[in-house]
Protein backbone atom coordinates (compact mmCIF):
# COMPACT_ATOMS: atom_id res chain seq x y z
CA UNK A 1 0.00 0.00 0.00
CA UNK A 2 1.28 3.50 -0.75
CA UNK A 3 0.84 5.98 2.14
CA UNK A 4 -0.17 9.48 0.99
CA UNK A 5 2.75 11.86 1.61
CA UNK A 6 2.24 15.01 -0.37
CA UNK A 7 -1.48 15.31 -1.11
CA UNK A 8 -3.94 14.97 1.71
CA UNK A 9 -6.31 12.03 1.73
CA UNK A 10 -8.86 13.73 3.97
CA UNK A 11 -12.48 13.76 2.89
CA UNK A 12 -13.38 17.31 1.71
CA UNK A 13 -15.91 17.60 4.52
CA UNK A 14 -13.10 17.77 7.12
CA UNK A 15 -12.41 21.32 8.44
CA UNK A 16 -9.12 22.89 9.52
CA UNK A 17 -8.45 23.16 13.29
CA UNK A 18 -8.64 26.67 14.80
CA UNK A 19 -5.75 27.37 17.18
CA UNK A 20 -5.93 31.10 17.96
CA UNK A 21 -7.18 31.79 21.48
CA UNK A 22 -8.75 35.15 20.49
CA UNK A 23 -11.30 33.53 18.18
CA UNK A 24 -12.74 31.49 21.05
CA UNK A 25 -12.90 34.40 23.47
CA UNK A 26 -15.17 36.58 21.28
CA UNK A 27 -18.72 36.83 22.66
CA UNK A 28 -21.58 35.67 20.38
CA UNK A 29 -22.88 39.15 19.49
CA UNK A 30 -19.66 40.33 17.89
CA UNK A 31 -19.57 37.58 15.28
CA UNK A 32 -20.52 38.39 11.71
CA UNK A 33 -22.90 36.23 9.62
CA UNK A 34 -20.11 34.19 8.06
CA UNK A 35 -18.52 33.49 11.40
CA UNK A 36 -21.83 32.31 12.86
CA UNK A 37 -22.26 29.95 9.92
CA UNK A 38 -18.70 28.72 10.40
CA UNK A 39 -19.37 27.98 14.07
CA UNK A 40 -22.51 26.01 13.23
CA UNK A 41 -20.61 24.07 10.62
CA UNK A 42 -17.89 23.21 13.15
CA UNK A 43 -20.45 21.68 15.47
CA UNK A 44 -21.45 19.20 12.75
CA UNK A 45 -18.43 18.50 10.56
CA UNK A 46 -15.35 16.48 11.61
CA UNK A 47 -12.02 18.35 12.10
CA UNK A 48 -8.62 17.35 10.70
CA UNK A 49 -5.81 16.39 13.09
CA UNK A 50 -3.57 19.33 13.98
CA UNK A 51 -0.10 19.03 12.40
CA UNK A 52 2.87 19.14 14.82
CA UNK A 53 4.04 22.47 13.36
CA UNK A 54 0.79 24.20 14.32
CA UNK A 55 1.19 25.95 17.69
CA UNK A 56 -1.07 28.15 19.82
CA UNK A 57 1.93 29.67 21.60
CA UNK A 58 2.27 33.46 21.39
CA UNK A 59 5.96 32.99 20.64
CA UNK A 60 5.57 30.82 17.54
CA UNK A 61 6.66 32.27 14.21
CA UNK A 62 5.93 30.57 10.83
CA UNK A 63 9.21 31.77 9.26
CA UNK A 64 11.26 30.38 12.13
CA UNK A 65 9.43 27.04 11.90
CA UNK A 66 10.04 26.90 8.14
CA UNK A 67 13.73 27.64 8.67
CA UNK A 68 13.94 24.98 11.39
CA UNK A 69 12.35 22.45 9.03
CA UNK A 70 14.88 23.27 6.35
CA UNK A 71 17.75 22.82 8.80
CA UNK A 72 16.37 19.46 9.92
CA UNK A 73 18.21 16.31 8.80
CA UNK A 74 16.56 12.87 8.70
CA UNK A 75 13.57 14.02 10.71
CA UNK A 76 15.51 15.11 13.81
CA UNK A 77 13.26 18.08 14.66
CA UNK A 78 14.44 18.12 18.30
CA UNK A 79 18.04 18.80 17.24
CA UNK A 80 17.02 21.35 14.60
CA UNK A 81 14.86 23.26 17.07
CA UNK A 82 17.55 23.30 19.73
CA UNK A 83 20.07 24.59 17.15
CA UNK A 84 17.62 27.33 16.18
CA UNK A 85 17.07 28.41 19.80
CA UNK A 86 20.83 28.38 20.43
CA UNK A 87 21.32 30.53 17.31
CA UNK A 88 18.75 33.10 18.48
CA UNK A 89 20.34 33.14 21.93
CA UNK A 90 23.81 33.61 20.41
CA UNK A 91 22.59 36.56 18.30
CA UNK A 92 20.96 38.10 21.40
CA UNK A 93 24.12 37.71 23.50
CA UNK A 94 26.38 39.26 20.87
CA UNK A 95 24.04 42.20 20.34
CA UNK A 96 23.53 42.76 24.10
CA UNK A 97 27.28 42.78 24.73
CA UNK A 98 27.70 45.34 21.97
CA UNK A 99 24.79 47.31 23.38
CA UNK A 100 26.20 47.49 26.91
CA UNK A 101 29.63 48.54 25.70
CA UNK A 102 28.38 51.20 23.28
CA UNK A 103 28.20 54.90 24.26
CA UNK A 104 24.78 56.41 25.04
CA UNK A 105 24.07 58.00 21.64
CA UNK A 106 24.72 54.77 19.72
CA UNK A 107 22.63 52.56 21.99
CA UNK A 108 19.40 53.17 20.08
CA UNK A 109 20.87 52.13 16.73
CA UNK A 110 21.85 48.65 17.99
CA UNK A 111 19.07 46.12 17.40
CA UNK A 112 18.93 43.46 20.11
CA UNK A 113 15.79 41.54 19.15
CA UNK A 114 16.93 38.28 17.44
CA UNK A 115 13.57 37.90 15.64
CA UNK A 116 13.80 41.34 14.07
CA UNK A 117 17.37 40.60 12.98
CA UNK A 118 16.33 37.22 11.54
CA UNK A 119 13.44 38.67 9.51
CA UNK A 120 15.45 41.62 8.27
CA UNK A 121 18.40 39.38 7.32
CA UNK A 122 16.10 37.08 5.34
CA UNK A 123 14.51 40.06 3.61
CA UNK A 124 17.94 41.40 2.67
CA UNK A 125 18.95 38.00 1.23
CA UNK A 126 15.89 37.55 -0.96
CA UNK A 127 16.65 37.90 -4.70
CA UNK A 128 14.26 40.05 -6.77
CA UNK A 129 14.69 38.20 -10.04
CA UNK A 130 15.78 34.65 -10.79
CA UNK A 131 17.11 32.61 -13.69
CA UNK A 132 15.46 29.60 -15.26
CA UNK A 133 16.70 27.16 -17.90
CA UNK A 134 14.72 27.37 -21.16
CA UNK A 135 15.63 25.11 -24.09
CA UNK A 136 15.06 26.63 -27.53
CA UNK A 137 16.45 25.26 -30.79
CA UNK A 138 18.62 22.66 -29.09
CA UNK A 139 20.43 25.16 -26.81
CA UNK A 140 19.63 25.88 -23.12
CA UNK A 141 19.52 29.55 -22.18
CA UNK A 142 19.52 31.09 -18.68
CA UNK A 143 16.49 33.36 -18.90
CA UNK A 144 15.69 36.05 -16.27
CA UNK A 145 12.32 35.31 -14.72
CA UNK A 146 10.24 36.91 -11.90
CA UNK A 147 10.08 34.87 -8.69
CA UNK A 148 7.11 34.26 -6.42
CA UNK A 149 7.29 35.27 -2.75
CA UNK A 150 7.54 31.68 -1.62
CA UNK A 151 10.39 30.98 -4.00
CA UNK A 152 12.28 34.08 -2.82
CA UNK A 153 11.93 33.09 0.82
CA UNK A 154 12.96 29.53 0.04
CA UNK A 155 16.06 30.65 -1.88
CA UNK A 156 17.14 33.03 0.91
CA UNK A 157 16.84 30.33 3.57
CA UNK A 158 18.50 27.72 1.38
CA UNK A 159 21.47 29.95 0.62
CA UNK A 160 21.97 30.78 4.30
CA UNK A 161 21.93 27.12 5.32
CA UNK A 162 24.22 25.88 2.53
CA UNK A 163 26.63 28.74 3.18
CA UNK A 164 26.86 27.76 6.84
CA UNK A 165 27.17 24.06 6.14
CA UNK A 166 29.80 24.18 3.42
CA UNK A 167 31.98 27.26 3.51
CA UNK A 168 32.95 27.31 7.17
CA UNK A 169 35.58 25.60 9.29
CA UNK A 170 34.60 22.02 10.10
CA UNK A 171 34.82 22.40 13.87
CA UNK A 172 32.62 25.51 14.36
CA UNK A 173 29.16 24.83 15.76
CA UNK A 174 26.09 25.59 13.65
CA UNK A 175 24.58 28.21 16.03
CA UNK A 176 27.85 30.14 15.98
CA UNK A 177 28.12 30.03 12.16
CA UNK A 178 24.46 30.87 11.64
CA UNK A 179 24.44 33.77 14.10
CA UNK A 180 27.50 35.23 12.36
CA UNK A 181 25.87 34.88 8.91
CA UNK A 182 22.57 36.37 10.08
CA UNK A 183 24.30 39.39 11.62
CA UNK A 184 26.30 39.99 8.42
CA UNK A 185 23.17 39.64 6.29
CA UNK A 186 21.34 42.07 8.60
CA UNK A 187 24.02 44.66 7.80
CA UNK A 188 23.92 43.84 4.04
CA UNK A 189 27.39 42.29 4.08
CA UNK A 190 28.57 38.72 3.87
CA UNK A 191 28.73 35.89 1.32
CA UNK A 192 24.97 35.34 1.01
CA UNK A 193 24.31 38.94 -0.02
CA UNK A 194 27.15 38.58 -2.48
CA UNK A 195 25.52 35.51 -3.98
CA UNK A 196 22.27 37.44 -4.38
CA UNK A 197 24.13 40.26 -6.16
CA UNK A 198 25.86 37.75 -8.45
CA UNK A 199 22.45 36.33 -9.40
CA UNK A 200 21.12 39.82 -10.12
CA UNK A 201 24.14 40.61 -12.32
CA UNK A 202 23.71 37.36 -14.28
CA UNK A 203 20.05 38.20 -14.83
CA UNK A 204 21.00 41.71 -15.99
CA UNK A 205 23.64 40.24 -18.35
CA UNK A 206 21.11 37.84 -19.86
CA UNK A 207 18.50 40.56 -20.43
CA UNK A 208 18.50 39.82 -24.15
CA UNK A 209 16.91 36.40 -23.61
CA UNK A 210 14.07 37.75 -21.50
CA UNK A 211 11.60 37.42 -24.41
CA UNK A 212 12.11 33.61 -24.39
CA UNK A 213 9.84 33.52 -21.38
CA UNK A 214 6.24 32.71 -22.25
CA UNK A 215 4.56 33.00 -18.81
Amino acid sequence: RIMPVRWSRYNPSYLEPEVKKESYQKPLEELTEEEREQMELKAVRPIKAAPPTLSSSVFSDPMISKFTNMMMKSGNKVLARSLMSQTLEAIKRKQLEKYHKAPENEKETIECNPYVIFHQALKNCQPIIGLSNITKGGKTYQVPVPLTDNRKRFLAMKWLITECRENKHRRTMMPEKLSQELLLAFNNEGPVIKRKHVLHKMAEANRAYAHFRWW
Binding site: S57, F59, Q86, L88, R93, Y99, N113, Y115
Partner: protein, 382 residues
Amino acid sequence: QLDHGCALHTAARDGLGSVSTQDVPAERPRAVFHTSESDPAKHSEQHEGRLYNIPLEEVKAVFPHGLPYRFQQQIQTFNEARVMVRRPALELLTYLKGSNLAQPAVRYVIYGERGTGKTMTLCHVVHYCSRQGWLVLHIPDAHLWVKNCKELLQSSYNKDRLDQPLQASVWLKNFKTSNERFLQEIKTQRKYMWGKRESTEEGRPLGEVVEQGLARVRSASDAVGVVLRELKQQSHRGSLRLLVAVDGVNALWGRSTLRKEDKSPVSPGELTLVHNLRKMVRNDWSGGAIVTTLSQTGSLFKPSSAHTPHELLGKEGFDALDPFVPIPVANYSPREFESCYGYYLERKWLQHEKAHTEDGKAELQFLSGSNPRQLDRLAGPL
Protein backbone atom coordinates in the same frame (compact mmCIF):
# COMPACT_ATOMS: atom_id res chain seq x y z
CA GLN B 1 11.67 54.91 28.17
CA LEU B 2 15.21 53.73 28.69
CA ASP B 3 16.17 56.75 30.83
CA HIS B 4 13.01 56.40 32.92
CA GLY B 5 14.03 52.84 33.76
CA CYS B 6 17.59 53.84 34.62
CA ALA B 7 16.45 56.59 36.97
CA LEU B 8 14.11 54.23 38.81
CA HIS B 9 16.84 51.66 39.09
CA THR B 10 19.43 54.00 40.62
CA ALA B 11 16.80 55.41 42.97
CA ALA B 12 15.99 51.88 44.08
CA ARG B 13 19.63 51.11 44.70
CA ASP B 14 20.29 54.26 46.73
CA GLY B 15 17.02 54.94 48.50
CA LEU B 16 14.96 51.81 48.97
CA GLY B 17 17.50 49.13 49.72
CA SER B 18 16.10 46.82 52.36
CA VAL B 19 12.59 48.31 52.56
CA SER B 20 9.92 45.60 52.66
CA THR B 21 7.54 45.07 49.74
CA GLN B 22 4.47 46.72 51.27
CA ASP B 23 6.15 50.09 51.69
CA VAL B 24 7.15 50.40 48.02
CA PRO B 25 4.61 52.63 46.20
CA ALA B 26 2.70 51.06 43.33
CA GLU B 27 4.26 53.14 40.57
CA ARG B 28 7.71 51.59 41.07
CA PRO B 29 7.16 47.93 40.20
CA ARG B 30 10.62 47.47 38.71
CA ALA B 31 12.65 48.23 41.78
CA VAL B 32 10.97 45.64 43.97
CA PHE B 33 13.05 42.68 42.95
CA HIS B 34 16.45 44.26 43.55
CA THR B 35 18.16 44.82 46.86
CA SER B 36 21.24 46.88 47.53
CA GLU B 37 22.31 44.62 50.41
CA SER B 38 25.35 42.92 48.95
CA ASP B 39 26.51 41.38 52.24
CA PRO B 40 24.93 37.94 52.68
CA ALA B 41 25.24 38.24 56.47
CA LYS B 42 22.50 40.88 56.49
CA HIS B 43 20.08 38.94 54.29
CA SER B 44 16.83 38.05 56.04
CA GLU B 45 13.19 37.16 55.18
CA GLN B 46 12.42 40.63 53.89
CA HIS B 47 15.01 40.09 51.15
CA GLU B 48 13.44 36.82 50.07
CA GLY B 49 12.81 36.67 46.32
CA ARG B 50 15.07 39.62 45.59
CA LEU B 51 18.35 39.70 43.72
CA TYR B 52 21.55 41.02 45.23
CA ASN B 53 24.64 42.11 43.39
CA ILE B 54 28.12 40.63 43.83
CA PRO B 55 30.88 42.97 42.56
CA LEU B 56 32.78 41.42 39.67
CA GLU B 57 36.20 41.51 41.40
CA GLU B 58 34.72 39.59 44.31
CA VAL B 59 33.26 37.04 41.90
CA LYS B 60 36.71 36.43 40.42
CA ALA B 61 38.30 36.14 43.86
CA VAL B 62 35.66 34.01 45.61
CA PHE B 63 34.44 31.86 42.69
CA PRO B 64 37.38 30.92 40.43
CA HIS B 65 35.40 27.69 39.96
CA GLY B 66 32.00 26.60 41.19
CA LEU B 67 29.48 28.80 39.39
CA PRO B 68 27.28 27.01 36.84
CA TYR B 69 28.25 27.60 33.19
CA ARG B 70 25.02 29.31 32.20
CA PHE B 71 25.34 31.69 35.14
CA GLN B 72 28.88 32.60 34.06
CA GLN B 73 27.56 33.36 30.56
CA GLN B 74 24.84 35.51 32.13
CA ILE B 75 27.44 37.44 34.16
CA GLN B 76 29.36 38.13 30.97
CA THR B 77 26.31 39.25 28.98
CA PHE B 78 24.72 41.45 31.67
CA ASN B 79 28.07 42.68 33.06
CA GLU B 80 26.90 42.00 36.61
CA ALA B 81 26.41 38.99 38.91
CA ARG B 82 22.93 38.94 40.49
CA VAL B 83 22.00 36.08 42.79
CA MET B 84 18.47 35.55 44.10
CA VAL B 85 18.01 35.28 47.86
CA ARG B 86 15.85 32.21 48.43
CA ARG B 87 14.42 30.47 51.45
CA PRO B 88 16.74 27.40 51.59
CA ALA B 89 19.78 29.67 51.52
CA LEU B 90 18.35 31.89 54.28
CA GLU B 91 17.67 28.76 56.35
CA LEU B 92 21.25 27.58 55.92
CA LEU B 93 22.61 31.01 56.78
CA THR B 94 20.61 31.11 60.05
CA TYR B 95 21.94 27.68 60.95
CA LEU B 96 25.50 28.73 60.21
CA LYS B 97 25.15 31.96 62.19
CA GLY B 98 23.83 30.07 65.20
CA SER B 99 26.24 27.14 64.99
CA ASN B 100 28.59 26.42 67.87
CA LEU B 101 32.09 26.03 66.44
CA ALA B 102 33.35 24.06 69.44
CA GLN B 103 30.96 21.21 68.57
CA PRO B 104 31.79 18.70 65.78
CA ALA B 105 31.06 20.01 62.29
CA VAL B 106 27.41 19.77 61.23
CA ARG B 107 26.71 18.36 57.77
CA TYR B 108 24.09 19.99 55.55
CA VAL B 109 22.85 18.22 52.42
CA ILE B 110 21.04 20.37 49.85
CA TYR B 111 18.80 18.22 47.68
CA GLY B 112 15.98 18.78 45.21
CA GLU B 113 14.72 18.16 41.70
CA ARG B 114 16.80 18.94 38.66
CA GLY B 115 17.44 22.61 38.01
CA THR B 116 15.89 24.02 41.19
CA GLY B 117 18.94 25.99 42.35
CA LYS B 118 21.03 23.72 44.59
CA THR B 119 24.39 24.87 43.21
CA MET B 120 23.35 28.53 43.43
CA THR B 121 22.32 28.03 47.09
CA LEU B 122 25.75 26.53 47.73
CA CYS B 123 27.42 29.52 46.04
CA HIS B 124 25.37 31.93 48.18
CA VAL B 125 26.59 30.16 51.34
CA VAL B 126 30.18 30.13 50.06
CA HIS B 127 29.97 33.88 49.44
CA TYR B 128 28.66 34.45 52.97
CA CYS B 129 31.45 32.40 54.54
CA SER B 130 34.18 34.06 52.52
CA ARG B 131 32.81 37.48 53.56
CA GLN B 132 32.88 36.36 57.19
CA GLY B 133 36.53 35.35 56.86
CA TRP B 134 36.14 31.58 56.85
CA LEU B 135 38.49 29.40 54.83
CA VAL B 136 36.38 27.94 52.03
CA LEU B 137 37.24 24.51 50.62
CA HIS B 138 35.01 24.53 47.52
CA ILE B 139 34.97 21.44 45.31
CA PRO B 140 32.93 22.54 42.27
CA ASP B 141 31.81 19.11 41.10
CA ALA B 142 32.92 15.84 42.66
CA HIS B 143 31.63 13.99 39.58
CA LEU B 144 34.54 15.42 37.56
CA TRP B 145 36.90 13.38 39.74
CA VAL B 146 35.27 10.02 39.00
CA LYS B 147 34.79 10.27 35.25
CA ASN B 148 36.61 11.30 32.07
CA CYS B 149 40.06 11.10 33.63
CA LYS B 150 42.75 10.76 30.96
CA GLU B 151 45.70 10.01 33.25
CA LEU B 152 45.62 7.67 36.20
CA LEU B 153 48.91 7.15 38.03
CA GLN B 154 49.57 4.60 40.70
CA SER B 155 50.01 6.49 43.95
CA SER B 156 53.52 6.45 45.43
CA TYR B 157 52.16 6.91 48.96
CA ASN B 158 49.88 3.86 48.95
CA LYS B 159 50.26 1.12 46.34
CA ASP B 160 46.54 0.31 46.09
CA ARG B 161 45.38 3.84 45.32
CA LEU B 162 45.34 5.79 42.06
CA ASP B 163 46.34 9.41 41.54
CA GLN B 164 44.72 11.97 39.27
CA PRO B 165 47.35 14.63 38.53
CA LEU B 166 45.31 16.80 36.11
CA GLN B 167 42.20 17.20 38.25
CA ALA B 168 44.27 17.74 41.40
CA SER B 169 46.43 20.45 39.82
CA VAL B 170 43.41 22.30 38.40
CA TRP B 171 41.74 22.27 41.82
CA LEU B 172 44.93 23.44 43.57
CA LYS B 173 45.24 26.38 41.16
CA ASN B 174 41.67 27.49 41.87
CA PHE B 175 42.11 26.92 45.62
CA LYS B 176 45.15 29.20 45.54
CA THR B 177 43.20 32.05 43.85
CA SER B 178 40.35 31.91 46.32
CA ASN B 179 42.31 31.59 49.59
CA GLU B 180 45.56 33.52 49.03
CA ARG B 181 45.83 35.13 52.44
CA PHE B 182 45.23 31.97 54.44
CA LEU B 183 48.00 30.11 52.66
CA GLN B 184 50.62 32.41 54.19
CA GLU B 185 49.22 32.25 57.72
CA ILE B 186 48.73 28.50 58.17
CA LYS B 187 51.88 26.53 58.95
CA THR B 188 52.44 22.81 58.42
CA GLN B 189 52.54 20.67 61.53
CA ARG B 190 55.01 18.02 60.40
CA LYS B 191 57.53 17.22 57.73
CA TYR B 192 56.25 15.85 54.38
CA MET B 193 58.41 13.95 51.90
CA TRP B 194 57.68 14.29 48.19
CA GLY B 195 59.58 11.39 46.69
CA LYS B 196 63.23 10.79 47.61
CA ARG B 197 64.72 14.27 47.40
CA GLU B 198 62.09 16.93 47.95
CA SER B 199 60.42 17.61 51.27
CA THR B 200 58.53 20.36 53.08
CA GLU B 201 59.79 21.13 56.58
CA GLU B 202 57.64 21.61 59.65
CA GLY B 203 56.41 25.15 60.17
CA ARG B 204 56.50 26.24 56.52
CA PRO B 205 53.43 28.12 55.19
CA LEU B 206 50.81 26.00 53.43
CA GLY B 207 51.39 28.01 50.24
CA GLU B 208 54.60 26.04 49.75
CA VAL B 209 52.71 22.74 49.72
CA VAL B 210 50.36 24.16 47.08
CA GLU B 211 53.31 25.41 45.01
CA GLN B 212 54.90 21.98 45.29
CA GLY B 213 51.68 20.36 44.04
CA LEU B 214 51.46 22.78 41.11
CA ALA B 215 55.12 22.47 40.18
CA ARG B 216 55.39 18.68 40.45
CA VAL B 217 52.15 17.53 38.88
CA ARG B 218 52.86 13.90 39.69
CA SER B 219 52.47 14.56 43.41
CA ALA B 220 49.52 16.96 43.07
CA SER B 221 47.00 14.52 44.54
CA ASP B 222 49.25 13.94 47.55
CA ALA B 223 49.57 17.72 47.94
CA VAL B 224 45.77 17.96 48.01
CA GLY B 225 45.68 15.24 50.69
CA VAL B 226 48.26 17.12 52.79
CA VAL B 227 46.31 20.40 52.47
CA LEU B 228 43.07 18.73 53.57
CA ARG B 229 44.70 17.02 56.54
CA GLU B 230 46.44 20.20 57.72
CA LEU B 231 43.24 22.26 57.48
CA LYS B 232 41.28 19.63 59.40
CA GLN B 233 43.83 19.52 62.23
CA GLN B 234 44.18 23.29 62.46
CA SER B 235 40.48 24.00 62.50
CA HIS B 236 40.11 21.36 65.21
CA ARG B 237 42.51 23.43 67.29
CA GLY B 238 40.26 26.45 66.82
CA SER B 239 42.60 28.87 65.07
CA LEU B 240 40.51 29.11 61.89
CA ARG B 241 36.96 28.45 60.70
CA LEU B 242 36.64 26.00 57.84
CA LEU B 243 33.79 25.52 55.38
CA VAL B 244 33.85 22.38 53.26
CA ALA B 245 31.54 22.95 50.25
CA VAL B 246 31.16 19.94 47.98
CA ASP B 247 28.89 19.97 44.94
CA GLY B 248 27.72 16.53 43.80
CA VAL B 249 28.73 14.68 46.95
CA ASN B 250 26.95 11.54 45.73
CA ALA B 251 29.93 10.93 43.42
CA LEU B 252 32.09 9.98 46.38
CA TRP B 253 30.10 6.85 47.16
CA GLY B 254 28.77 5.76 43.79
CA ARG B 255 30.61 3.99 40.99
CA SER B 256 33.11 5.47 38.60
CA THR B 257 33.54 5.00 34.84
CA LEU B 258 37.33 4.85 35.16
CA ARG B 259 39.24 1.66 34.49
CA LYS B 260 42.69 0.47 35.41
CA GLU B 261 45.16 -0.68 32.78
CA ASP B 262 43.92 -4.24 33.00
CA LYS B 263 40.37 -2.98 32.25
CA SER B 264 39.09 -3.72 35.73
CA PRO B 265 36.69 -1.06 37.11
CA VAL B 266 37.94 1.43 39.69
CA SER B 267 35.81 2.05 42.75
CA PRO B 268 35.88 5.68 44.00
CA GLY B 269 37.48 4.56 47.27
CA GLU B 270 40.63 3.63 45.34
CA LEU B 271 41.19 7.22 44.15
CA THR B 272 43.38 9.36 46.45
CA LEU B 273 41.34 12.53 45.91
CA VAL B 274 38.06 10.80 46.73
CA HIS B 275 39.57 9.00 49.72
CA ASN B 276 40.87 12.24 51.24
CA LEU B 277 37.61 14.03 50.56
CA ARG B 278 35.64 11.29 52.28
CA LYS B 279 37.82 11.77 55.37
CA MET B 280 37.11 15.49 55.17
CA VAL B 281 33.35 15.03 55.04
CA ARG B 282 33.32 12.88 58.19
CA ASN B 283 32.25 14.85 61.25
CA ASP B 284 35.17 13.99 63.49
CA TRP B 285 36.55 17.56 63.50
CA SER B 286 35.19 20.81 64.88
CA GLY B 287 35.49 24.49 64.09
CA GLY B 288 33.48 24.71 60.90
CA ALA B 289 30.68 23.27 58.79
CA ILE B 290 30.21 20.93 55.85
CA VAL B 291 27.70 21.99 53.20
CA THR B 292 27.11 19.53 50.37
CA THR B 293 24.82 19.26 47.36
CA LEU B 294 23.41 16.17 45.72
CA SER B 295 23.36 16.20 41.96
CA GLN B 296 21.71 13.81 39.55
CA THR B 297 22.81 15.53 36.33
CA GLY B 298 26.47 14.52 36.52
CA SER B 299 25.93 11.30 38.42
CA LEU B 300 26.91 7.90 37.07
CA PHE B 301 24.62 4.88 36.89
CA LYS B 302 21.75 6.63 38.65
CA PRO B 303 18.28 6.92 37.07
CA SER B 304 17.15 10.41 36.12
CA SER B 305 14.14 10.22 38.43
CA ALA B 306 16.36 9.87 41.53
CA HIS B 307 16.61 13.05 43.58
CA THR B 308 16.24 12.07 47.24
CA PRO B 309 19.35 11.64 49.43
CA HIS B 310 18.74 7.92 49.94
CA GLU B 311 18.42 7.16 46.21
CA LEU B 312 21.43 9.21 45.12
CA LEU B 313 23.84 8.44 47.95
CA GLY B 314 23.11 4.73 48.16
CA LYS B 315 23.41 2.78 51.39
CA GLU B 316 27.16 3.38 51.78
CA GLY B 317 26.98 7.11 51.24
CA PHE B 318 23.91 7.58 53.42
CA ASP B 319 25.56 5.70 56.30
CA ALA B 320 28.72 7.75 55.89
CA LEU B 321 26.88 11.08 55.82
CA ASP B 322 24.34 10.18 58.49
CA PRO B 323 23.45 12.27 60.59
CA PHE B 324 22.96 15.33 58.39
CA VAL B 325 20.58 18.28 58.11
CA PRO B 326 18.58 17.95 54.85
CA ILE B 327 17.71 21.20 53.07
CA PRO B 328 15.18 20.78 50.24
CA VAL B 329 15.23 23.27 47.37
CA ALA B 330 12.01 23.69 45.40
CA ASN B 331 10.94 25.49 42.22
CA TYR B 332 10.29 29.24 42.20
CA SER B 333 7.41 30.52 44.31
CA PRO B 334 5.10 32.98 42.45
CA ARG B 335 6.95 35.92 44.02
CA GLU B 336 10.35 34.56 43.02
CA PHE B 337 9.07 33.94 39.50
CA GLU B 338 7.84 37.54 39.26
CA SER B 339 11.19 38.74 40.46
CA CYS B 340 13.15 36.64 37.95
CA TYR B 341 10.83 37.65 35.10
CA GLY B 342 11.11 41.31 36.03
CA TYR B 343 14.90 41.06 36.14
CA TYR B 344 15.05 39.55 32.64
CA LEU B 345 12.75 42.28 31.34
CA GLU B 346 14.80 45.00 32.94
CA ARG B 347 18.09 43.66 31.61
CA LYS B 348 16.53 43.38 28.13
CA TRP B 349 17.04 39.64 28.09
CA LEU B 350 13.42 39.01 27.00
CA GLN B 351 13.39 40.71 23.60
CA HIS B 352 10.30 39.17 21.97
CA GLU B 353 7.40 41.66 21.80
CA LYS B 354 4.94 39.12 23.18
CA ALA B 355 7.19 38.31 26.14
CA HIS B 356 6.28 41.69 27.68
CA THR B 357 2.56 40.84 27.69
CA GLU B 358 0.56 39.04 30.38
CA ASP B 359 -0.09 36.17 27.95
CA GLY B 360 3.62 35.72 27.36
CA LYS B 361 4.33 35.72 31.08
CA ALA B 362 1.59 33.15 31.76
CA GLU B 363 2.94 30.99 28.95
CA LEU B 364 6.49 31.18 30.33
CA GLN B 365 5.27 30.23 33.78
CA PHE B 366 3.31 27.29 32.41
CA LEU B 367 6.01 25.98 30.10
CA SER B 368 8.79 26.22 32.67
CA GLY B 369 6.67 24.97 35.57
CA SER B 370 8.43 27.66 37.66
CA ASN B 371 11.63 25.64 37.38
CA PRO B 372 14.61 28.05 37.37
CA ARG B 373 16.63 26.11 34.81
CA GLN B 374 13.69 25.65 32.40
CA LEU B 375 12.85 29.33 32.69
CA ASP B 376 16.43 30.25 31.87
CA ARG B 377 16.49 27.90 28.87
CA LEU B 378 13.13 29.16 27.59
CA ALA B 379 14.00 32.82 28.02
CA GLY B 380 17.23 32.32 26.05
CA PRO B 381 15.88 32.41 22.49
CA LEU B 382 13.00 34.77 23.34
